[in-house]
């Protein structure tokens, strides 16, 4: 029988089971596997720390990290500024057809990465007649093969991901904006603050928690990037363009069948993510926080 004392344990059981079976065990398995090398189909040979040594001298890892980091930075910046701007626009009573626009921005979030990939691969193609290249020529940048150079590759990734993630972020910001009482704006207006100052001193502080939340989600999402990278380059990137860490692990595991090495990279990456995560949790004071109100 569930009492007030035992109830939480029952409620949390699904998570605990799921965590143990589908997370803890696989991770242990992965650590174990990282000390072996797969030969043929199912023969594993013990190789000790070889896989880890390999990480240090693997040039692809460097490229993957470069791409992933720059992508994360790009996606976070773009997906903080742009949705915020759009949310403010959509929040303003004067803006026409707000709900329609809001839905228009959200619908891409409903599509799969594959569908996005079909379109954006054609969008970023090197063909000089694409709309993008036409625009590039008009502003003097010159038509280029976007998916074939390192820097533009990251740009392509950021744009493709933004297309799908924008709508959701707009919603988060919209929600937060709507909690700001109008009196605050009116008071600031009376004090003589113009639009910019109102934004800086009323809006931003009020939505700080949401800003933090979106930043978190974006950073995590950026570091985990796999899908967009996979569909834009069909799984094979020349010169490691657009190669992200997770994609590299996938390629090592299923492209080269080097499960051991893939596991080793995963382990290192996990440890890194864990550290980031713990730092984040501590700094946000989440460990101390309970319920509000």
């Amino acid at each position: 029988m569930m009492t007030k004392r035992t109830a939480p344990y029952f409620f949390c059981l699904p998570f605990v089971i799921s965590f143990a079976v589908f997370m803890v065990y696989p991770m242990i398995d992965m650590v174990y596997r990282s000390f072996y090398k797969l030969e043929g189909v199912s023969t594993y040979r013990f190789v000790g720390l070889d896989n880890y040594e390999k990480i240090l001298s693997d040039p692809h890892i460097g490229n993957a990290v470069w791409n992933t980091v720059w992508f994360t930075v790009g996606i976070t910046v773009v997906n903080l500024a742009l949705p915020l701007f759009l949310a403010i626009a959509l929040n303003n009573r004067l803006t026409p057809l707000r709900n329609l626009f809001r839905s228009a921005f959200f619908i891409p979030a409903l599509t799969s990465v594959v569908v996005a990939g079909i379109y954006f691969r054609l969008f970023f193609a090197g063909n000089p007649d694409t709309p993008l290249n036409w625009l590039a020529r008009v502003v003097g940048l010159g038509a280029r093969d976007w998916l074939n150079a390192k820097e533009t590759g990251v740009i392509a990734l950021v744009l493709t991901s933004t297309w799908r993630w924008l709508g959701l972020n707009i919603l988060y910001f919209l929600a937060a904006l709507q909690t700001i009482p109008r009196e605050l704006y009116e008071a600031a207006h009376v004090d003589g603050a113009n639009a910019v100052r109102r934004f800086l001193y009323v809006t931003l502080p009020s939505i700080k928690p949401i800003l933090i939340f979106v930043t978190t989600v974006m950073v995590y999402g950026g570091l985990r990037m796999f899908g967009e990278s996979y569909v834009l380059w069909n799984g094979k990137s020349p010169g490691d363009i657009g190669l992200t860490i997770v994609l590299y692990v996938y390629r090592t595991a299923f492209g080269f069948f080097d499960m051991g090495y893939a596991s080793a990279i995963s382990v290192v990456f996990f440890i890194f993510l864990m550290v980031v995560n713990l730092v984040y949790i501590k700094s946000m004071g989440f460990l101390g926080g309970g319920r509000k109100g």
Binding site: A125, G235, P238, G239, G255
Partner: protein, 445 residues
């Protein structure tokens, strides 16, 4: 509204659970109506379903066609082919996963030549040896290509084709420059001709891939370059490989060659580029004919096939196949599958179909000089009737490459396709020597 939502949710959940329940009972394992027991022949009149995985749609059609022939000849052992086409990467991943887990692998499967060695190591036999059907017919075959799939004395896969390297010239462009295909014998000839073509038409005579390795592999293979030697040692940083890259850089420098639009010969940009007469030639293999007929119909009648240019009199034509079909050990109809496979690819009739249906140069070369090869098909209509004579002329110089000498071949291939060509020819961020040396280091670890 809330109540309706909850009811809706429960309703959907219930319906889905019922449907799922019906499904999961009949799930588990692939193929459909397989007869009970292993290695048995199905009773008279009943069809055995054989599952086949591939990454080329046309291969599936080929086997379906072969099944029909088989059924005519063996009315009491009817076969139905269930072909599934997946993208190349995914198919090999799935194959590995199902072979590892011991369940779910197909009866027949196409394996890419660059990946074949990955399945062969470790002492576990995952494919059925095909010696019984190959040995008797061995003399009719180009043995070198058979041996690509021979491990420990057993043949584990049977190729589709020899994969004779082939040059495709756009005669319309060449005519404008006054260049004749017959005059191009060596790569230097091509370079010179390229200058004429550039001057007369402003177009490059050839394009070089930076996203795929095979045309480079052919070029360097002609002068003996390879990634591994016969014993599996890394030789990717050999002088031959380096010189080939340097030659390519020369042609890129004066505009007689450009980087393939789209990066490789299977990209949409490339088809569009060539269809508009973008370059005067390309180097690949016989099996590329299908790309021309299917994706560049505008060029019908304008493309002439010829033996590729060579470096010198000592040059050879590297052959390394492309895809093998194997029977997995998980198949419940190994015997039937093997015999069917033999009929489809090894028999004379099957070999002729490989040419007529797929446009490939079959392994079985005793039929190369027969009329079977002169039949009218979509390839002869596009390229002309004497395509096979070209291959016959090259026959004596076929030389198998060391494609299965090392399990690291797929990694080497990937390094060339993804790194080396791009960095050396495309970005020009590394010299041939640097790139090759870096690859050799990575492979030696």
């Amino acid at each position: 509204m809330r109540k309706t939502l909850i009811l809706l949710l429960l309703g959907v959940l219930a319906a889905a659970a019922v449907l799922a329940g019906c499904q999961s009972k009949s799930s588990g394992g692939t193929g459909g109506s397989t007869s009970s027991g292993t290695q048995q022949q199905s009773p008279k009149g009943e069809k055995t379903t054989l599952t086949f995985w591939t990454y080329v749609e046309q291969h599936g059609e080929f086997f379906r066609d072969a099944a029909e022939s088989w059924n005519r000849k063996h009315p009491d052992e009817q076969i139905e082919i269930k072909a599934e086409t997946y993208p190349l990467e995914d198919m090999h991943s799935k194959l590995l996963i199902t072979l590892q887990s011991g369940d779910g692998a197909p009866d027949l499967v196409d394996v890419n030549v660059a990946r074949f060695s990955d399945f062969m190591l470790g002492g576990e036999e995952v494919f059925v040896p095909l010696n019984d059907v190959i040995e008797p017919e061995k003399s009719s075959f180009l043995e070198a290509v058979l041996d690509i799939y021979k491990y420990n004395g057993n043949y584990y896969g049977i190729e589709y084709h020899v994969g004779a390297p082939m040059m495709y010239y756009n005669t319309e462009i060449l005519d404008q420059a006054g260049v004749k295909v017959e005059d191009i014998v060596t790569w230097d000839d091509l370079h010179e001709a390229g200058k004429k073509v550039l001057a007369a038409t402003g177009k490059p005579i050839i394009t070089f891939e930076v996203k795929d390795s095979w045309s480079y592999y052919i070029m360097t293979g002609e002068r003996g370059g390879d990634y591994f030697d016969k014993s599996g040692n890394v030789i990717i940083d050999s002088e031959e490989n380096r010189k080939t890259l340097e030659f390519m850089l020369e042609m890129l420098a004066d505009g007689t060659a450009i980087i393939t639009p789209g990066g490789w010969f299977h990209s949409e940009e490339y088809y569009g580029f060539m269809a508009k007469g973008g370059a005067a030639s390309m180097l690949e293999a016989m099996w590329y004919m299908g790309r021309f007929t299917d994706y560049m119909p505008e060029l019908a009648g304008k493309i002439r096939m010829a033996a590729p240019p060579v470096w010198d009199e000592k040059s050879v034509y590297p052959v390394f196949g492309g895809t093998a079909t194997s029977v997995t050990k998980q198949s419940k109809h190994q015997d039937l599958a093997v015999r069917f496979l033999a009929d489809a690819k090894i028999s004379a009739e099957g070999a002729a179909k490989i040419w007529n249906v797929l446009g490939f140069d079959p392994l079985r070369w005793d039929i190369w000089e027969t009329d079977a090869m002169k039949q009218d098909n979509k390839f002869t209509q596009y390229f002309g009737k004497d395509i096979f004579d070209i291959v016959l002329g090259m026959k004596d110089k076929f030389h198998p490459s060391n494609i299965t000498a090392s399990p690291k071949f797929s990694q080497a291939n990937s390094l060339v396709a993804n790194d080396i060509l791009f960095k050396v020819l495309g970005e020009k961020s590394e010299t041939p020597e640097q790139a090759l040396k870096s690859a050799a280091d990575q492979l030696s670890r």
